[in-house]
Amino acid sequence: MIRFCQIAVLAIFIAQWEITARLGLIDSFILSQPSRIWQTFLNMAQNDLFMHMGVTVYETLVGFLLGVVLGTLFAIALWWSSFASKVSEPYLVVLNSLPKIALGPVIIVIVGAGTQAIIFMALAISLIVTVLEMLNGFRHTDNEYIRMAATFGANKRQIFTKIVFPYNISTLFNSLKINIGLSLVGVIAGEFLVSKAGLGYLIVYGGQVFKLDLVMASVIILSVVAAVMYEAVALLEKLVLKWYGH
């Protein structure tokens, strides 16, 4: 029933969009219309749609993986040393609230206008969130578990690998889920600023030449790509948790 209603909402939305556009109630030049989006999509599919998708997905994955790995490593370091964690706290707070997109020009100047800049942007957006999220998870590990390990004489490394990390597997996956979205934001923002390919490039290009069909089609493809990547992470989570016996 829920699934039926979900599909119905989408179908009604698309239908009324198409109908109002055909009746001339909305301006399909500005708002586009489903049939024209479909035509554009078919046209793109015969040309270089998959190349653009591939570029965006590639940049997102690289930024995402870098963000997760580096962010987790930073979080481990900060969990390990309360001194380092206290010193870095104000910086993390400021960096976290700073809109990373403001760093765009700086990034472009430093690493050059190209794929690197886009990956950097994705990394900048996802890194700090990962650090904060993972650190928070590590710190909220059930203290009784840690005490139990301590009664067996566990050292800090053992406490981390045997208690803190496994305890935070679900925190890790939560942060992965947030990150896949954030990396995509970073990549699209990066592609807006510098690029010759990718879905973000198609959107900006479509806007500049007033081909709103292209913009809409790209946005829809983008949302499908985002959903697929999110689901991939969710599937991975299921597999890992099953393997871990949660």
């Binding site: 009784e144 005490r147 139990m148 390990a149 009664t151 004489g153 045997k162 208690i163 496994p166 016996g245």
Partner: protein
């Protein structure tokens, strides 16, 4: 002002304090005909000597433990009772080597303890089984951490699981077991490292009453069978009597040893449940109750 038991205790302490020396001297011929020669001196497995603990609070230094001393012989079960907040758990943490005492020493088998010792197993109130490990993997946790994962030790863990009826659950996860079973798994995890001394810190108070009676019975049997020396902290007077060979009563903070009471039900095969039915149970209970209430 000293109670009779206190004087008894101090004497006994004085006595045990010199045991190593006495043992040592026994090897020297001129002492062979010493009047002590026919005394049976059991070697203490655990000796706690003049432990003091203070900690910093907002309004200055607070003393939690005041010169606590006692000895526990091989296979003995000592219950520690005391008013809540008197520092019972602090004492156990010190014996376990998790906390450093401000003064005093702990000896296990005559050796001074610094930090945690593989001779001591410590069981907390909560079972703390790791959700992401199977029962078997949970049991191996201590061995893993202590880097003692030899085939013999693993075999021992399997034997423990078999003996105490948990072998068929070895591939299950903790969430699939009842509270009492979980507590038994936690006990086996502690016993797997083959400790000489087991410390129980309110280990049964998280269980409901029914389970608690069964589990204490099970645990008692296990400990007696494995001949494990045990020190248990509890706030439950009946539990302390039903399990203990000796009961140590602590005063309110700063905790001193008020009394060490030897419990004797004149029953070779006593179990916590039979003790609870013994007529002497009431006498012990009233005695300890009085000792504890005298503080307030």
């Amino acid at each position: 002002m000293m109670t009779r038991q206190q004087i008894y205790f101090h004497k006994s302490l004085y006595f045990t304090y010199f045991i190593p020396k006495a043992n040592y001297l026994r090897g020297i011929p001129s002492f062979e005909n010493n009047e002590r020669k026919d005394e049976v001196i059991p070697l203490d497995v655990l000796r706690v000597q003049n432990i003091e603990a203070t900690y910093q609070a907002e309004n200055g230094e607070i003393s939690a433990l005041d010169k606590i001393s006692f000895v526990v012989g091989k296979g003995e079960f000592v219950s520690i009772v005391g008013p809540s907040g008197c520092g019972k758990s602090t004492l156990l943490s010190i014996i376990a080597g998790l906390l450093k005492p401000t003064a005093g020493e702990v000896f296990v088998n005559g050796e001074k303890i610094v930090g945690t010792s593989p001779h001591i197993g410590y069981m907390l109130q909560r079972d703390n089984l790791l959700d992401w490990r199977t029962i078997y993997k949970n049991v191996l946790f201590g061995l893993e951490v202590r880097k003692m994962l030899s085939p013999e030790n693993q075999e021992r863990a399997v034997q423990l699981l078999k003996t105490y009826g948990l072998y068929e659950f070895r591939d299950k996860y903790p969430a699939q077991l009842s509270g009492g079973m979980r507590q038994r798994v936690a006990l086996i995890r502690t016993l797997a490292i083959n400790p000489d001394i087991l410390l129980l810190d309110e280990a049964f108070s998280a269980l409901d009453y029914q389970t608690r009676l069964t589990v204490t019975d099970d645990v008692y049997r296990i400990l007696k069978k494995e001949n494990i020396t045990t020190v248990m902290v509890t706030h439950d007077i009946p539990e302390s009597i039903s399990m203990g060979d000796k009961i140590m009563v602590l005063s309110a903070r700063p905790a001193r040893v008020k009394e060490i009471l030897a419990v004797d039900f004149e029953d070779e095969n006593r179990t916590p449940l039979t003790c609870r039915n013994s007529p002497k149970f009431r006498t012990y209970f009233d005695h300890i109750w009085k000792e504890l209430s005298a503080d307030e």
